[in-house]
Symmetry: C2
């Protein structure tokens, strides 16, 4: 593989020099600085984990991060344990009561979501916070546990320097419309199909 | 929204109780414990960030994590800075020399990938490491900078308790075949299209 002729090396160099010129021109065109509204949706894995990866990036720049979990509540979260390494630079609020099939109580689920949304608004209003992760907010919106119009309007009216990540399956069209960056995590292959159970460090 | 009739509450409770029974049965069927070979591919964002989110999860369980970056090299990485909070529980090796259009030198790119692969094999052989992230390995495989058969065979023959995450666009079919869990990050909407530049904390 390392046996490259001088001609091939030169062709490669020319091709890459052209590609670099295109890349540089594209980067130069983009000049707007703004906090982004980001949505991670889809049936695949990685929606919440990618949000926590972004948290690492913000923390690496010295910023502060707020997390509100709308569905997950009491159960143990390893990523939360890990982020304790950053002390009060991470404000983590698990406000959910568990999945709907765990609580089996719609009024309680709605009350939990409303409390979570209040906490989310509080974090978004805190100028020291650079990134707010609204984990599984899409689920709360899908079940109409929160008023969609108000939530989208509040997210759209966020501080100009605030990044917000919303996760969960079945993101509403109105939220996607308001977002700057939307990624759909698509399931290609899952080990559960092969009888493999949820693995420590991966699923929990 | 919190105005739920007793009948509706009861119907909800019944529906959720049935759903819980189905969920519990599904979980009980899955009994295999194993380290997973995970692939994050696709043109969307979140491939590497989701891998670093998994790192947090493993760290939260007290485990150790190895990272090898096959393409990214010299440039500043905020997630790397953040993970320094975990001291020697994270072994981070940026072995790349930058994108192909930056180096413009194919022989140098190949040599860097071969060194990165050696480091990857070393981390995978270390029994204290629970998760190895092979960041952008898919790019090295796509350009045939590494021998696909050997890489896939080595990943497939990993220790039974080792999780490996491979990231990058255009994952090879042979790697997807060998993997336990494959997620495609699909681009739905990107702020670059609206002239917004790469944002601190999000892209870097």
């Amino acid at each position: 593989m390392t046996d490259i002729s001088p001609e091939e090396a030169a062709r490669h160099r020319d091709r890459m020099a052209k590609r670099k010129a295109v890349q540089d021109a594209e980067v130069a065109e983009k000049t707007i600085e703004k906090g982004l509204l980001i949505v991670h949706t889809g049936a695949g894995k990685g929606k919440s984990t990618a949000a926590f990866g972004l948290a690492l990036r913000v923390l690496g720049h010295g910023g502060r991060v707020g997390v509100v979990q709308f569905i997950k509540g009491a159960w143990h979260s390893a990523e939360r344990d890990a982020l304790q390494a950053f002390g009060d630079r991470v404000a983590w609020h698990s406000m959910g009561e568990g999945f709907t099939w765990e609580t089996q109580d719609k009024a309680r689920d709605i009350a939990a979501c409303l409390r979570a949304w209040e906490k989310a608004r509080e974090l978004m209003a805190d100028p020291s916070v650079g990134l707010v992760i609204l984990d599984e907010l899409n689920i709360a919106l899908r079940y109409d546990y929160l008023p969609l119009d108000e939530v989208v309007a509040t997210l759209a009216a966020r501080r100009p320097d605030l990044h917000v990540v919303v996760t969960g399956r079945n993101a509403k069209a109105e939220l996607i419309e308001a977002a700057d960056l939307v990624t759909e995590m698509t399931l290609v292959k899952h080990h559960f199909k092969a009888g493999v159970k949820a693995q420590k460090g991966i699923e929990f």
